[in-house]
Symmetry: C2
């Protein structure tokens, strides 16, 4: 049984201002929830149609499928929905490769970029303050548990770049081919907004412009999706790391 | 001014059975529409809040923003919505690299895969009969005009593979590293369903299992998004083609 006030709070957590207010976020689906619990995320409440989910007892409230439908953010709700405390981001480790996102607005893109960072062993993902919130339910959903293994910080990218004298790489349509670029062992690789690319201010801070060569005969494709660009750049750099 | 029967037909084209019945599909946004017109797609009707779109006169009906909202599939409608005739797919060219999709269900994934094929010069994309329809409005939207530059065929993949004695590559979690694999110059590269991968039946037809190495310390990431997998495999193969 779930109370009306609980329903109200859970639904409010779809909005960033309430996530900030309560310092909480929601995750759906047993697999993601169990992964977050294992990764030491603090579980506040768990609502499930199952009597048992990942050994949780104290925080579990068993609910009906109708109640689940009321609180779920999905058109086809999974079995459970959990409320977690938003953890503090760890200190950024500037000694290895960092991915920087400038105003990424699509939650699905951010979610898959988090998965890519996890896959390719990128520990730190730094996001401009106007990038979509990583605790947005659609990002949590798309990141599929990888959220717990990547340290995500929202910061003023310009100040970070100016304060840390690191090499800064940016992806453009007209940079040096990513295939020819030497292995990147340290520094920030920046990716820009889906429609507008990297902002003018940040462009000024970039030391290395890189691009992904286009191979079609017609050469008319306008651009690649930003998550696909991250995939290609990270894969190509990882390839170089094992070729040495 | 748009008639009620026109509104009804346009809305019906969101569903595959009506697209098949009318042999028509819809596209939104001036940029995509103009690109499809230039690519010799047959324009049936164009509804726009603008008095002029890409030199179209005969097929243009000027409408109000309120009427546009009624027929648009987008939460923030663009200026125009067009009805095009569905073209016949061209004959598949088996002499170069072909991408095969087995039961891809997410329209956004198919749309970005079409963009990737266009970017990397893949002419033929062959899809299992249960893959999402490429004239689904969300696919048209996500493909951003690339739809007109990739030849997409819906066929029985098993028969095609058996009838054409081509090498067949499949992406798995446990195949040979894509980085070590020689350049693929001919054959079908298969990618499977978002949740279940390549079907058992098709798996039997595969000659080369390939995979993308995982680099994270924890090695816990379950999988990559299928569009990101396509991005990495195509990029890596293209890189090899210029390294020769």
């Amino acid at each position: 049984m779930i109370s009306n006030s609980q329903i109200k709070i859970i639904k409010s957590l779809r909005q960033k201002k309430f996530r900030v207010l309560h310092n909480q976020f929601i995750a759906e689906g047993d697999k993601t929830i169990i992964e977050l619990i294992k990764s030491n995320y603090k579980l506040c409440n768990l609502f499930s149609v199952n009597p048992k989910v990942g050994g949780v007892t104290n925080e579990l409230t068993q609910i009906t499928p109708i109640e689940l439908k009321k609180i779920s953010n999905l058109s086809n709700p999974k079995d459970s929905i959990a409320v977690f405390e938003i953890p503090q981001a760890n200190i950024i480790d500037y000694s290895s490769v960092i991915i920087g996102l400038d105003n990424i607005s699509d939650p699905g893109n951010l979610g898959t970029i988090i998965r890519l960072c996890d896959w390719f062993g990128i520990q730190d993902l730094i996001c401009s303050l106007d990038t979509v919130d990583c605790y947005n339910p659609k990002v949590v959903q798309a990141s599929m548990g990888s959220l717990s293994r990547v340290n995500i910080s929202y910061i003023n990218l310009e100040s970070v770049i100016k304060n840390n004298k690191l090499p800064v790489y940016g992806t453009y349509m007209d940079g040096e081919s990513v295939y020819k670029k030497a292995l990147i062992e340290k520094g920030i690789i920046l990716f820009g907004n889906e429609a507008n690319g990297i902002s003018l201010e940040l462009s000024k801070c970039i030391n290395h412009k890189i691009s992904i060569p286009r191979f079609g005969d017609l050469q008319k494709t306008e651009s690649l999706n930003v998550a696909n660009t991250v995939a290609i750049v990270l894969s190509d750099n990882s390839r170089k790391s094992i070729e040495r």
